[in-house]
């Protein structure tokens, strides 16, 4: 490569990257840095006096039982949503790519639809499903119970409600991940399955020995997506459907951050929660990437 071409190449690289880097710096890097900065202050949000308190906000956080509960709820949701969605999405993706029968296209179209709905719609839907008196779920269950059955308080029982939130999140996520896994599975060569069939491997065995290993990279990557999107969507859904209640039993990271920063006049404290959320999601993803590292199977 001569000098001229080299220069052209550099110019191309710079021009292609510059707009993205500039916008990222202005609208993401700078705001995040100012969030980090604010987390070191005690500031109500309006008064001109900001008091620098170092890491005091983080010390308070470590002892704040409400924050710890919000963190537990978030972790429970991440685990539940990831495990259940992953299992369902993988199995359905495998079925829809492997089993040849009529209507596959239609099912694929339908399964994705929940993902395109706004969270407000999902909240309205699940409020109607979980309604204790006339909800869909209790109406169906009532068929199997005596007439004086009280019904399950899906959103009223503090131990149950986090599961109810998780189900709504899973309902919304399955299609999205299913389509992702399908696109990975579609590129697995057919002859691998054929030779396995000849060796007498069942469909279930093929799923574990061929499909899973060969989509492993995609699965690993989606783990990061699960972490990020569950943190975000759980906030939007909880805000719309339960308001964090009953009595904080569905409070999650970002809803607690919002309450502290806005309702409780502790803006600096809220931003400290923002910092924890950022570090937490990053660290969790890194850990997940670490422990799922396998030799990539070639095909």
């Amino acid at each position: 490569m001569n000098g001229h071409a080299k220069r052209n190449r550099s110019i191309f690289i710079v021009l292609a990257l510059a707009p993205a880097i500039i916008l990222m710096t202005i609208f993401m890097l700078y705001p995040v840095l100012s969030v980090f900065q604010m987390s070191l202050y005690r500031w109500g949000g309006y008064s001109p006096d900001k008091e620098f308190i170092g890491f005091q906000n983080f010390v308070t956080l470590a002892k704040d039982m409400n924050f710890i509960r919000a963190m537990q709820n978030t972790i429970v949701l991440i685990v539940l949503v990831t495990v259940v969605t992953l299992a369902f999405a993988l199995v359905f993706a495998a079925i829809l790519t492997r089993v040849k029968f009529k209507g596959v296209g239609l099912f694929r179209v339908i399964f994705y639809i929940p993902n395109i709905l706004s969270i407000v719609v999902i909240s309205a839907i699940f409020s109607a499903i979980y309604d204790p008196a006339q909800g869909l779920l209790n109406s169906v269950l009532r068929l199997f119970h005596p007439s004086n059955w009280q019904g399950v308080q899906w959103l009223g029982n503090e131990k149950l409600v986090i599961w109810s939130v998780a189900i709504a999140l899973i309902w919304q996520a399955i299609g999205y991940y299913m389509v992702m896994y399908m696109s990975a599975m579609a590129s697995i060569p057919e002859d691998l399955y054929e030779s396995a069939s000849l060796d007498g491997a069942t469909a279930v065995r093929q799923f574990f020995t061929i499909t899973i290993p060969l989509t492993w990279n995609t699965i690993r990557t989606t783990l990061t997506f699960f972490v990020i999107s569950t943190i975000n969507l759980s906030f939007l859904l909880v805000t719309a459907m339960t308001g964090g209640g009953p009595n904080g039993s569905t409070e999650v990271f970002l809803s607690y951050m919002y309450k502290q920063a806005n309702t409780n006049s502790a803006y600096g404290y809220g931003m400290a929660i923002g910092v924890v959320v950022f570090l937490f999601s990053f660290a969790l993803s890194a850990i997940l990437q670490g422990i799922t590292k396998r030799d990539v199977y070639e095909f």
Partner: protein, 289 residues
């Protein structure tokens, strides 16, 4: 024997698929049905069929509640954000995926880290930054130019979507064989021509996926829109918030559900238009094949 076995298996699979489809279709059909109910019907059992069709819910949401105007704003913001996003993200993804240079690893990390930033806590700093700019321009021009500006909102949307978009697009670019570029260079094409004429068109499936994903998030976004557009140029989701009445006042449920459908329909239509291409373009999880 073998046939009977697979037959049973298929029937079982069918049954499970149909069950899941029902679990999805019924609630969505419910939203559509609810949107034509009369106000009083919302206080009773939510699962009864509408007694009659109250199409006036839609006209009242469209005109009285201003959803018609907000729809226009949303179309504008979403379209502009998508155009900006593709123009900015496509070349960056291409370079990050297919060129090797000294700082490449650093920039890959830079964009990856962006994935973990949540718009909910950076919205206030962004607002303050834009407001600072506006205060400056008010001194010169007599009015601000950053806030209450749908163009600015689009730029912010495009910027915050960059990490995920670049991630998806560069993953896709990595899967393309090198022979295409080599052939283009052989023909004497420069870097710009090769990118525009050869590589960008090849990324089409992935671009469609990116458009759909980001369409959904831009279309439904309300926290940024609420903060950065304090004036009348509301977007649909913000308008929807206003349809749900404050506590202590009568809720016009029919109007609210009609509003929900107005927000939902364009996403359904776009999805059905592009759903065939959706699987092709979704390549995550690094190099394959």
């Amino acid at each position: 024997m073998e046939n009977k076995h697979t037959g049973l298996y298929k029937a079982f699979v069918y049954l499970v698929l149909i069950l899941l489809a029902i679990v999805i279709v019924v609630p969505i059909a419910w939203v559509f049905l609810a949107s034509v109910k009369s106000n009083a019907e919302f206080y009773g059992n939510p699962w009864t069929l509408p007694k009659s069709f109250h199409w006036e819910n839609f006209t009242s949401a469209w005109t009285t509640a201003g959803m018609g105007k907000y729809l226009g704003n949303s179309v504008f913001v979403t379209a502009l954000s998508l155009i900006l996003l593709i123009i900015i993200a496509l070349p960056a993804s291409y370079v990050l995926a297919r060129f090797h240079f000294v700082t490449q690893k650093f920039w890959n990390w830079f964009f990856m880290l962006g994935l973990f930033i949540n718009a909910n806590y950076i919205v206030v700093p962004i607002f303050l930054m834009l407001l600072g700019g506006d205060n400056f321009f008010t001194k010169i021009l007599g009015h601000g130019i950053f806030l209450n500006n749908l163009w600015m909102l689009s730029l912010v949307y495009a910027s915050t979507a960059l990490p995920f978009t670049i991630y998806l697009l560069s993953n896709y670019f990595r899967t393309l064989p090198a022979s295409f570029e080599e052939a283009a260079y052989m023909d004497g094409a420069g870097y710009f021509t090769t990118f525009l004429k050869v590589m960008a068109p090849m990324a089409r499936p992935s671009i469609i996926t990116v458009i759909l994903f980001n369409f959904l998030s831009f279309w439904n976004e309300y926290i940024m829109a609420l903060t950065l557009i304090p004036g009348d140029n509301k977007t649909l989701p913000v308008g929807l918030l206003n349809l749900s009445a404050a506590q202590k006042s009568a809720q016009n449920y029919g109007q609210l559900y009609a509003g929900l459908v107005i927000v939902m329909l364009p996403t359904l239509i776009l999805y059905i238009m592009v759903q065939k291409q959706l699987t092709e373009g979704m390549t995550v999880g690094g190099v394959k094949g």
